[in-house]
């Protein structure tokens, strides 16, 4: 990396990067023109745009921006494929599925629980503690939000109790992983089993077969009245749930906390080189405890959105693997807040698209196949095809003084 910087000047690098990003945008445009509202039925336009994108990407790759360049080539090829596939479908079917405003809103909805959990996972993993238990912490949040909202009769109470529940489970994981130096993956797996058992047990014991009450207090939506009739922005952002805006704020705050404050520096140093951190007086154990518990709280926030923001009820094992998608988003986003958020949005978009595929009867079965997309992308990402995802150096290793 440093060698490359030494040979290429900053100006040259910036042009290469801009061209690469332009290539990515061209690739997206290649696919987009075949979709509503333009819905071009001629293959020329996507091909021209895609070819331009590939060329821009290839050039950027030779100029030292390998990752963005290859990304642009991949995006352009994908764009052309999307365009060709879309052209084979009837326009009115496409218009049923691809309604950009509704798609954006649905993507944000699906991305929100993933974002909270992924950002939580980032704190834990950046401090050097693997968190396979995100799924369980999210599930605890989902149950205790519903139960808390039911008993306190306010959604605020529900969210607060959810956070406590997630933190409690995270504390178990932290104690075994940090103090007892147990294998962090084993203890994460255990915590997932525990959460499944605890929430299922309490749910059956308290709500029996009736399910959570239908009048469960809900986290409110934020109505932006002024946007109502604006094209695209109205349906996309006009009435989103409060938690969605909170998720966006969490991303921004966690970026600042992780990279611009001493606390963030401590977390990162404990995760990269605990011995060095210890030598300069950073309390390794305490920092890791704080990070893991924070991750449990954030994952639980994501869970609370599922039960009292989105589904209006709790059902057994309702997270259904979302904690693992969040883990995937974290890895795909290279353990960075904005990256994790972007990955969560991408995965949320694929879920939203899968859901909207259900609008056309003959496409319904592909809904299920579409769900594999986040996992396939993450597999490709860790395999290093488009630049490797490299975890924090001391991840998974217990620290012994």
């Amino acid at each position: 990396m440093t060698a490359r910087v030494a040979t290429a000047s900053w100006a040259e690098l910036r042009t290469a990067r801009l061209t690469g990003v332009g290539g990515i945008l061209l690739g997206i445009a290649a696919g987009w023109v075949a979709l509503p509202p333009i819905s071009t039925r001629s293959v020329v336009l996507p091909l021209v745009l895609g070819a331009a994108g590939i060329a821009a990407g290839a050039w950027a790759a030779t100029q030292g921006e390998k990752r963005i360049g290859i990304g642009a080539v991949v995006a352009s090829v994908a764009g052309i494929v999307v365009a060709i596939v879309a052209m084979r479908a009837a326009v009115d079917n496409l218009e049923l599925v691809v309604s950009w405003g509704a798609l954006t809103a649905a993507s944000l909805v699906y991305a929100t629980p993933l974002t909270f959990a992924a950002i939580g996972g980032m704190f834990s993993e950046r401090s050097g503690v693997v968190n396979i238990g995100l799924e369980g912490m999210m599930l605890m949040g989902a149950f205790f939000a519903a139960w808390g909202a039911d008993t306190t009769e306010t959604w605020v109470g529900g969210v607060l109790i959810a956070v406590v529940g997630g933190a409690a489970l995270a504390l178990v994981h932290a104690f075994f992983a940090i103090h007892l130096r147990a294998d962090q993956i084993v203890s994460g797996t255990a915590v997932n089993f525990l959460a499944l058992g605890i929430t299922g047990y309490l749910y059956i014991n308290i709500y029996s077969d009736r399910g959570t009450p239908p009048d469960l207090p809900q986290i409110p939506d934020v109505d932006l009245g002024g946007l109502k009739d604006v094209y695209f922005f109205g349906p996309a952002f006009g009435s989103l749930n409060l938690m969605i805006w909170l998720a966006v704020a969490t991303v921004a705050l966690s970026y600042v906390a992780m990279f611009k404050t001493p606390a963030g520096l401590r977390i990162r140093s404990v995760g990269e080189h605990p011995k060095a951190a210890d030598t300069v007086g950073i309390p390794v154990y305490r920092t890791r405890y704080a990070a893991v518990i924070l991750s449990g709280m954030l994952a639980a926030l994501g869970g609370s959105f599922l039960s009292i923001g989105f589904n209006h009820s709790f059902t057994e094992n309702m997270t259904a693997g979302r904690g693992f998608i969040a883990l995937a988003a974290l890895i795909f986003g290279r353990w960075r807040p904005v990256g994790a958020f972007a990955a969560a949005l991408l995965f949320g978009f694929s879920s939203a698209l899968a859901q909207r595929l259900g609008q056309v009867e003959s496409w319904q079965s592909y809904q299920l196949l579409f769900q594999t997309l986040p996992y396939v992308l993450t597999l490709i990402a860790v395999a290093g095809v488009i630049g490797r995802s490299i975890p924090p150096a001391a991840i998974g290793r217990p620290y012994t003084k």
């Binding site: 255990a190 525990l194 196949l369 594999t372």
Partner: protein
């Protein structure tokens, strides 16, 4: 391969005391302690987990935990082993035990899948996906291929085993070539298998069963009679115990032999101990990662085949999505300490728990089965959490050492 750089056997298998050795050396005594600890810690863990489970029962429902556990135990059919159980009670017990063993079979195999990778220093969290891939392959071969009985069964089993091995092999290959962590890759492969299988047999999916009126049934075709495993105990119409039980027992023996009596097993264990030392000793580390993962997946794929060919005969979306067999395999391997005998007994324990708490076997007037099933999950979680109990013991040891050191420091001061 250069022998001798590494210990020929892992430290937990310390040399046995010579016969006629009345006063064992300190080392032998320590070895005995460790070996007994090897049985005692899992036992203690299980007892502790059940104890906590009992407290949960008492606190939340006010019911007597012992009565509850007794009812679950009777549902497992393990009372068949008691000679004083006779008559109608014995017939019921036999039926229940067949069900318990039916669940034990795949648990042994998925337990071995996790254990084998563990011995190579890898955590195969993907048993569930490999199990699914195996089950799907077995159903495809069982339903769409036509041959006579023996070749059909063998073909279905072999294809499922190879499919499981290939699925896990992806993770092994990525670990061996680019160093991608197997936990991440196997989790991803789990979910890819989960959704792909759901799609294959789902409504409108390419392998959904045909026939008029079946358009809304998200299930596969049923395997042909020729592909079904013969039942050797009980009534085939009442889900008797199929010969997959012996396949699982055979797999335990194969596991032990491969690990302890072959060059491959030696390499796998060496890499599991210390990959750097193994590499220095001339053992191909990357190759062993790949092979260990593939063999792991083969066990899990075989588990899918025995379930499909033994008693399920077809797959449907709900059973694919609700299956936990691969995940329980993690608890089985950990509680069984990655040994063949241990895996057998812990698979039996979890199989019994699953069957004893099922809706058909647990009397709702004594304890609600739905509660008991979640109790099983809690017990499972505690077992996995505390099986690292040697960690607890080590912790207590280190505390003692620390105290002694502090006392020593105080003396010199």
């Amino acid at each position: 391969m250069s022998e001798g750089r590494l210990p020929d056997r892992p430290p937990e298998e310390a040399p046995a005391t010579e016969p006629g050795d009345y006063a064992p050396s300190v080392a032998a005594r320590l070895a005995f302690l460790q070996r007994s600890g090897g049985v005692i810690t899992p036992l203690l863990t299980a007892v502790f987990a059940f104890f906590v489970g009992g407290i949960v029962v008492l606190v939340t429902t006010g019911k007597n935990p012992l009565t509850t556990y007794r009812a679950i135990f009777d549902g497992t059919g393990l009372n068949w082993l008691f000679p004083w159980v006779t008559g109608a009670e014995r017939t019921t017990a036999a039926l229940n035990l067949q069900q318990t063993l039916l669940l034990t079979v795949p648990l042994i195999l998925t337990g071995l899948a996790v254990a084998f990778a563990f011995r190579c220093g890898m955590f195969n969290i993907g048993g569930q996906g490999q199990y699914t891939v195996g089950a799907v392959s077995a159903v495809i071969v069982g339903a769409y291929v036509s041959t006579s009985h023996l070749p059909h069964v063998v073909l279905a089993i072999v294809v499922a085993t190879v499919a499981g091995a290939a699925w896990a092999g992806i993770a092994g290959l990525l670990k061996a070539t680019v160093g991608a962590h197997e936990v991440i890759t196997t989790i991803m492969l789990n979910w890819i298998a989960f959704w792909t299988a759901s799609w294959l047999f789902g409504i409108g999916g390419p392998l959904q069963l045909g026939g008029v009126g079946n358009e809304s049934v998200p299930a596969s075709e049923t395997v042909k009679e020729t592909a079904k495993l013969p039942v050797f105990w009980g009534d085939p119409l009442l889900q008797g115990l199929h010969i997959g039980f012996f396949i699982a027992l055979g797999a335990l023996v194969v596991y032990w032999i491969v690990l302890n009596r072959t060059t491959l097993g030696y390499g796998v264990r060496a890499v599991g101990f210390n990959p750097d030392a193994a590499r220095y000793g001339g053992i191909p580390v990357a190759r062993n990662y790949f092979l260990a993962m593939a063999i792991s997946g083969a066990f899990a794929g075989l588990a899918g085949a025995t379930d499909v060919l033994g008693w399920e005969f077809r797959l449907d979306q709900t059973s694919i999505q609700a299956s936990q067999i691969g995940f329980i395999g993690i608890a089985v391997a950990l509680l069984g300490r990655n040994t063949a005998v241990g895996v057998f007994f812990s698979a039996l324990l979890f199989g019994a728990l699953l069957n004893g708490t099922s809706t058909t076997n647990l009397d709702p007037s004594i304890f609600r089965p739905e509660l008991a099933q979640n109790l099983t999950l809690i017990i499972q979680g505690l077992v996995v959490l505390f099986v690292g109990a040697d960690v607890l013991i080590l912790y207590v040891w280190s505390l003692r050492r620390k105290l002694r050191r502090q006392a020593g420091a105080a003396d010199t001061a």
